[in-house]
């Protein structure tokens, strides 16, 4: 019953997406745009099918319906309800179903959001592209990755249960869906990019329209990655949170391109430059989500020869190749229309900074991709296996990270068009001194090591520079009557908060990786030992037996606090025992405990691994700042009329008094400012007058009436 329901849902979605593609294509070919707009109906049907399939799968998991092969492999009678629900995305076929569900939701949201422009060929093309992607994923589910395949033979009495590592932490309920909300969300900007290339309408309209979608997807991807790091820290038992393994790199690559895109698109909005960059970045982001899914799902990296065993691998790879070829081909075809009307006048400008930013992020992504794929390349040519591990990635990405920190300090202080070194010198002297004092303070406090010191200094510089922007912004907002709080919301100001979050994370990374300390201590019950400045007391062992878990726990006090319970746990019979760590988090450092060896006989000594890493909690705090900044960036600014000038307002002639609404004096000898020729001004332009960061080359307005 569940299988039938699920199959019908998947088939409905597949049929609706294929039919939708055909209908929209017909409508566009014949210029029958009223036919093309019925694409919305098909998108809705895709969502209906996806919801039906998801409900069927969850029902099967919750009721332990072992007639489905997927449920038999990933669920058991003793699995708690939460992990039954999350079992849907704990293996390949179910996670494709989650991808399809989220994609269907995004497509429906997109068609609803642009319902008033549904007869616009560009929107029709975008819907068509999203339906093609949906058809691919539902096609995977109808064929090789069928989540509703029934068990051949007799139905087993009990299932195998989910992977043990997916059962001991509630984060499994959040991390994959949030990560997918990020990955799948980039389909929409990608669809609009393809649509604009195909229709030849490379204006700024579609980028403004999809800007919030990109920010939304980026925010979720960022949160997903941070949650993933937190999860592996809490569960995997080695005290680390980022191992540069292929699965992590697969999620990081699209994030790098998306971050570059979010910055670079500002230049296109403002000056119409970097168009090819932006289109390439959007296409690269989406392609990398597909490549990432391929790399992790086909097993190509872990075992080079598992590729030919997996059915889904070749299809994902083929889709990646098709997306890449289509995107690059369209850019080459439309190359003539992509020329910008102007150029970058000077590298010492915000445009120049964003261009360098693009280069650095692309270099970062290139290093990560090369490191991930290099073992395959080497094995293909030399026949031997080689490992590219954390030492390589850390060594290669450290200089790029430091360069990005430096750019993050200078960039917000740079005006558009061009500036002089004197301007920068005056604006950045205070933040630079903050950075210098941080370095001095660290050295005085006993911190040693060139890499971490430079990172801390640059972190201080960047934090002060971005905080300065926020202060100026708030001051300007208050002065122009909008209220100081306006200086903290809006795209640019939210961006400053996001940068602050990045600085916190960078500082925490530098501290945790440079000054971590791992040791093993062997303790008898009641013994106290000191390790890396903390007092570790072992109280004794206890046995824990719940329906889901059998474990031997070690009760440990850290500096008298606790007891913490690192353990060796078994989830379900006949499964291997895994170590489950316990963490004592503090503002200064984290004490991470694992049980390395249980005593050979009762009452004997236990070996506990103690890892002390400073500032780990700052990582998660920085992640919160990133979320906060993204939320602030999404707040719309004051509504601006299309004829409002972009620069700060110049007061009108003395009789008229100070006009703070921003509209310049049209007649009379005031400075002529040319408003941005935007097609549709979204609410949420550069924050109105509360954004001196954009306009600092114009002197601040002096209220009329002063002599």
């Amino acid at each position: 019953m569940n299988a039938a329901l699920g199959h019908s849902g998947v088939l409905l979605s597949l049929a609706a997406s294929v039919l939708g593609v055909v209908v929209i294509a017909y409508g566009l070919a014949r210029h029958r745009l009223d036919v093309a707009r019925t694409g919305r109906v098909y998108a809705g049907l895709v969502l209906v099918g996806a919801v039906v399939a998801t409900v069927a799968m969850e029902r099967a998991l919750i009721t332990h319906d072992f007639s489905l092969a997927f449920v038999a492999a990933n669920n058991s009678r003793s699995t708690p309800l939460l992990y039954s629900i999350t079992g849907m995305w704990s293996a390949l076929a179910g996670s494709i179903l989650l991808w399809g569900l989220i994609l269907a939701g995004y497509v429906v949201a997109m068609t609803w959001r642009f319902r008033r422009q549904s007869t616009d060929p560009l929107v029709a093309w975008a819907t068509l592209v999203t339906l093609v992607v949906a058809a691919f994923f539902f096609g995977l589910m109808a064929g090789p990755a069928d989540p509703f395949r029934t068990v051949a033979g007799t139905v087993p009495a009990n299932g195998l249960g989910p992977n043990v590592l997916l059962q001991d932490n509630a984060l499994v309920a959040f991390h994959p869906p949030i990560l997918y909300l990020g990955f799948v969300g980039f389909t929409i900007p990608f669809a609009f990019a393809m649509a604009s290339l195909v229709t030849g309408r490379i204006g700024e309209g579609w980028q403004l329209a999809t800007r919030r979608w990109t920010l939304f997807a980026w925010a979720f991807l960022t949160v997903g990655i941070v949650l993933g790091a937190w999860w592996s820290y809490q569960v995997l038992g080695w005290g680390g949170f980022w191992a540069w393994d292929p699965v992590e790199n697969a999620s990081f690559l699209p994030w790098l391109c998306a971050t570059a895109y979010l910055h670079s698109v500002l230049v296109q909005e403002r000056r119409g430059l970097l168009r090819v960059w932006n289109l390439s970045l959007v296409i690269a982001t989406f392609s990398l989500t597909i490549l990432g899914t391929f790399l992790t799902r086909s097993g190509v990296i872990e075992s080079v020869h598992a590729f030919s065993d997996s059915d889904i691998g070749p299809l994902l790879l083929g889709f990646f190749g098709a997306v890449l070829a289509t995107g690059v081909g369209l850019i080459a075809w439309r190359g003539d229309r992509l020329r910008s009307p102007g150029g970058i006048d000077s590298m010492l400008s915000r445009e120049g900074a964003f261009l360098v930013n693009n280069l650095l992020f692309v270099a970062f992504a290139f290093v990560v991709l090369l490191g991930t794929v290099f073992p395959l390349l080497y094995e293909a040519f030399e026949g031997q296996q080689v490992t590219v591990g954390a030492p390589y990635f850390n060594a290669m990405t450290l200089p790029i990270g430091l360069a990005l920190l430096l750019l993050m300090s200078i960039g917000p202080a740079l005006p558009w068009r061009k500036t002089t070194a004197n301007t920068l010198r005056d604006r950045l002297v205070l933040p630079a001194w903050v950075g210098a004092l941080v370095v001095v303070g660290c050295v005085a406090g006993g911190v040693r090591g060139l890499g971490p010191l430079v990172a801390f200094g640059l972190g201080g510089f960047a934090a002060a520079a971005n905080a300065r922007q926020l202060v100026l912004s708030a001051r300007g907002a208050r002065r122009s009557g909008a209220g100081a709080w306006r200086g903290f919301v809006g795209r640019a100001n939210g961006g400053m908060v996001v940068h602050l979050g990045v600085v916190v994370i960078a500082v925490a990374l530098a501290a945790a990786t440079s000054f971590g300390h791992r040791s093993e201590v062997t303790l008898r019950p009641g013994q106290v030992i000191s390790s890396a400045g903390h007092r570790i007391t072992f109280l004794g062992l206890t046995q824990v037996r719940t329906p889901a878990r059998t474990a031997t726990e070690a009760l440990v006090l850290v500096d008298g606090r606790g007891p913490l319970r690192p353990a060796v746990s078994q989830y379900g019979p006949n499964t291997e025992a895994v170590g489950t760590p316990a963490i004592d988090s503090g503002l200064e450092d984290d004490v991470y405990l694992t049980v390395d060896a249980l005593p050979a006989r009762a009452g004997g000594p236990v070996t506990i691994g103690v890892t002390v890493q400073p500032l780990v909690i700052w990582l998660w705090g920085g992640g919160l700042l990133l979320v906060l900044g993204s939320a602030l960036a999404a707040v719309p600014g004051k509504r601006r009329r299309p004829t409002d000038p972009v620069s700060a307002p110049v007061p009108a002639a003395a009789a008229a008094g100070d006009d703070s609404s921003g509209s310049g004096d049209a007649e009379g000898p005031s400075v002529v400012v040319v408003p941005d020729a935007r097609r549709d001004v979204e609410p949420g332009g550069p924050g109105g007058p509360g954004e001196p960061g954009a306009d600092e080359h114009v002197p601040e307005p002096v209220p009329a009436g002063s002599p």
Binding site: F307, A332, R339, G342
Partner: protein, 194 residues
């Protein structure tokens, strides 16, 4: 307002720039195609043989007490073909290959024929002993306290099997569960060339 070109480009430069976009697109396409081709053409492996540096070298020593209580030394088996099998009771592929190993051992039970030797990998003596007994395995299984033998042989995880020639050279290294047929095949092949 004049309509001067801001950056003063000439029409000739426009044509040049359009070609640049096509060049970049072309390069990207070639690199992308190469990547896809590379990822798509990984050949399937025959059996589960791996090529590690130990192949062709003298087999490292194996010595110690066995599960049955006796002692064992690999050097004493010079002159016979030896199949060294690293196993553990908790690993599913080991459980999977055990019946095939039992059949192989029975088929080669005549003295002087190929002999099977097990090495316990990261397992307690009681569970390993129970595993061997319950599967009807009668060949010597050596303890490896501290994992030194596993380290000497470069074993990443069970099951891994090594074929050692009568003069003590490692002829082949297999990763994953073996079958009786593949063992016979590789033994015959090694005898043919060796």
């Amino acid at each position: 307002m004049t309509s001067a070109l801001v950056d003063g480009t000439s029409p000739g430069a426009e044509v040049h720039r359009r070609h640049t976009a096509k060049w970049v697109a072309g390069v990207a396409l070639v690199v992308g195609a190469a990547l896809v081709a590379l990822l798509a053409t990984r050949p399937p492996q025959t059996a589960t043989e791996v090529d590690t540096p130990l192949v062709g070298q003298t087999a490292p020593a194996i010595g110690g007490s066995t599960l049955g209580g006796g002692s064992f030394d690999l050097a004493a088996l010079r002159g016979r073909w030896v199949v060294v099998n690293f196993f553990a009771s908790w690993c599913p592929p080991c459980q999977q290959e055990q019946p095939d190993l039992v059949a192989f051992a029975y088929a080669h039970r005549t003295p002087g024929d190929a002999v099977l030797v097990g090495v316990v990998f990261d397992d307690s003596d009681s569970t390993a002993r129970a595993f061997m007994r319950s599967t009807g395995a009668s060949w010597p299984a050596v303890f490896d306290p501290g994992g030194q033998i596993a380290l000497d042989y470069g074993v990443r995880g069970p099951p891994e099997t090594f074929l050692v020639s009568p003069d003590g050279i490692v002829v082949a290294h297999f990763d994953g569960p073996m079958t009786e047929a593949s063992l016979d095949y590789w033994l015959a092949r090694a005898k043919g060339t060796g």
